[in-house]
Symmetry: C2
Subunit: 198 residues, 2 copies
Amino acid sequence: MNYPKTIRDLIEVYKKFPGVGEKSAERLALATLSFDEETNIKFSDTVRNIKTKIKRCTICNNLTEEELCDVCKDNSRNKKIICVVEDPKNVILFEKIGVYNGLYHVLGGLISPLDGINPENLKIKSLIERVKKDEIEEVILALKPSIEGETTVLYINKLLEKQKIKITKIAHGIPLGADMEYIDSLTLELALEKRTEV
Amino acid sequence: MNYPKTIRDLIEVYKKFPGVGEKSAERLALATLSFDEETNIKFSDTVRNIKTKIKRCTICNNLTEEELCDVCKDNSRNKKIICVVEDPKNVILFEKIGVYNGLYHVLGGLISPLDGINPENLKIKSLIERVKKDEIEEVILALKPSIEGETTVLYINKLLEKQKIKITKIAHGIPLGADMEYIDSLTLELALEKRTEV
């Protein structure tokens, strides 16, 4: 005795989600079963349509339903600054704080040869072309402070070196409101090294 | 700037799942986007079909795609014992241990007047009728050890009192392998009270 086939099928799908194991998948499948008719149809249709409706912005590789994403279409933005991020989720994070008014460039990952991700698998070439073509004045590298992130920062920096533009990366250190005792020692070391005058 | 509409729609659906907040819903929606074509179609179809394909067993209220569930259809099972559980998930849990050979009865919840769940909202009436009609010899109440669970146990016990059948409930106490210091005091008190001779 096990769940009926339709539920087992759905459990198998949910298990493909990151961080979802057998038990969580079961819970999600049973929750799906208890949705009302309207939610159920909307859910099914949205899943079905997502792959055809969602495209990548031809300029910055961000998610969009049109040719250009909302940021690239917006003429009020500063078109001379590009913030380079790993994935579309990061664009939303920056947009939420609402202080950045430039453009973005979504790499689609970080350089990680061990995982088979090389520079040519990422949107690095199109970034370099964009910087040259659009006379960009500053490139902000807003990538994760990991080995992959640092490798990507160094790689892009190397390619842009000759462009005589400002290349910056976001600051790393102790997050505001953090409990000092829970900060890892590498971050603490970095924070100490990069100390600023009060 | 926010996610394109199709993704926002999907995030709204995922937020309806129990225990899924904004961030998890975002992660699930972006994961859905990265599924291959085949998984995507299977996912969409299964969700669409689940409400029509999955029915409730007319005898025990368990999930099934036919009139009767796999347990009720199985003639090798002991038809004189009924294990009463809260929801279909519990049936699977008992089936996994593989030592119980009787039938089930899925209540569909526990009595909880504060949440508006009264006995008539649960499959209690059909349980009593079943016990009488099928000459059941034992009813095992396998419900959660909570106020709602205990209330339901007492309520069903009251209704079955006159039937001269064995009514039991599963044992509560310290789970095997548990670290004694992490056990709550109520469970410890109960375990002490229900101590057995070695």
